[in-house]
């Protein structure tokens, strides 16, 4: 049975109240635009003969994941993705999971955000709506 003696077990995990197993509690979460940058870098390193990663084959999982993060129009470039993360991290109330979920789902209304990413109980609607408006303005509108 995959479980830790103390803390949340896998069966008790839930995004609804942000209960995650210990290892994931401490980890940083990434939204697809950030993952896209990392994976594209990795793929470029593979094709670059001078890189020490050139001899390591690209796995099917990586290809599939790269295709997935490229399929959803997100933020225009590295700077925009970084700005998005900075804007969200400025709110200390948001946990890592919420930051990544908001950045990837990019809801337009506070109502929608609360339905999709449940745990923002301590943030006011107006504050949340301001954040969402900023996020949406940075979204890449070229489909």
């Amino acid at each position: 049975m995959l479980s830790s003696r103390r803390g949340t077990t896998i069966d008790e995990e839930s995004a609804a109240d942000l209960r995650l197993t210990e290892k994931f509690e401490k980890a940083n979460c990434l939204f697809p635009a950030e993952v896209k940058l990392i994976l594209e870098d990795r793929k470029n390193a593979h094709t670059n003969p001078e890189s020490e990663l050139s001899r390591i084959p690209i796995t099917n999982t990586l290809e599939k994941t790269l295709a997935y993060v490229q399929a959803f129009p997100q933020y225009k470039n590295t700077e925009t993705a970084r700005e998005v993360r900075n804007k969200l991290e400025r709110f200390e109330k948001f946990r890592q999971f919420e930051i990544a979920a908001l950045a990837s789902l990019c809801p337009e209304q506070a109502e929608e955000a609360k339905a999709l990413v449940p745990r923002q109980v301590l943030i006011l609607y107006e504050e949340l709506q301001n954040v969402l408006d900023e996020l949406n303005s940075m979204k890449d509108t070229q489909m």
Binding site: N28, C29, P32, I56
Partner: protein
């Protein structure tokens, strides 16, 4: 959800690698043994980004074997679905029971019974088959459609994660 984590692994090297390219051999072995694998507890390890050089200490000789074991610490992008999480996915298979959609390395099944709003019904006459509502007010779901779904349940095995999703709640369903 994509996580950026620090993970550990024991890498065992055969003496034939003990030469000037030892570090390169160690790195290649780590990448080939770890990238692309799925561990029920940690999820799918999509890509390794770096190794912790300070932790790359001396190897330990395994008594009686001549092989050397290194304890390596590395940073990687991991994909692990969390129950209740909402994510976007692309539909790959549609049949009368429901549809399969892929998000990154995982495939999520959404059942017609319990996972979709009652307005949706399976249209076997269209090519390719799709799910659509009688009054066409909501988008038809077919192969290649993008949907926003919530992970309703997961079964975690030693080497794979099977997920079931739903599009029944507010703000979920057909995107494009």
């Amino acid at each position: 959800m994509f996580f950026y984590m620090t993970l550990d692994k024991e890498i065992v090297l055969h003496p034939k690698y003990f030469g000037p390219r030892l570090r390169q051999a160690l790195m290649e072995k780590l990448y080939t043994e770890v990238e692309g694998t799925c561990d029920g507890e940690r999820g799918f390890i999509v890509a390794i980004t770096s190794l912790s050089e300070e932790h790359l200490g001396r190897g330990r000789l395994m008594a009686g074997k001549g092989l050397v074991s290194y304890h390596v610490q590395y940073q990687a992008v991991v994909f692990r679905p969390v129950k209740g999480e909402v994510m976007d996915a692309i539909v790959t298979v549609v049949n009368k029971m429901g549809f399969f959609a892929e998000a990154g390395p995982i495939s999520i099944f959404v059942s017609q019974v319990g996972g979709m709003p009652s307005e949706y019904s399976f249209d076997v006459t269209s090519n390719p088959p799709c799910f659509k509502s009688a009054d066409m007010t909501i988008g038809a779901i077919t192969v290649g459609s993008q949907v926003r779904l919530r992970i309703a349940g997961m079964r975690i095995d030693a080497e794979s994660i099977t997920t079931v999703g739903t599009i029944k709640d507010d703000y979920l369903g057909f995107i494009a």
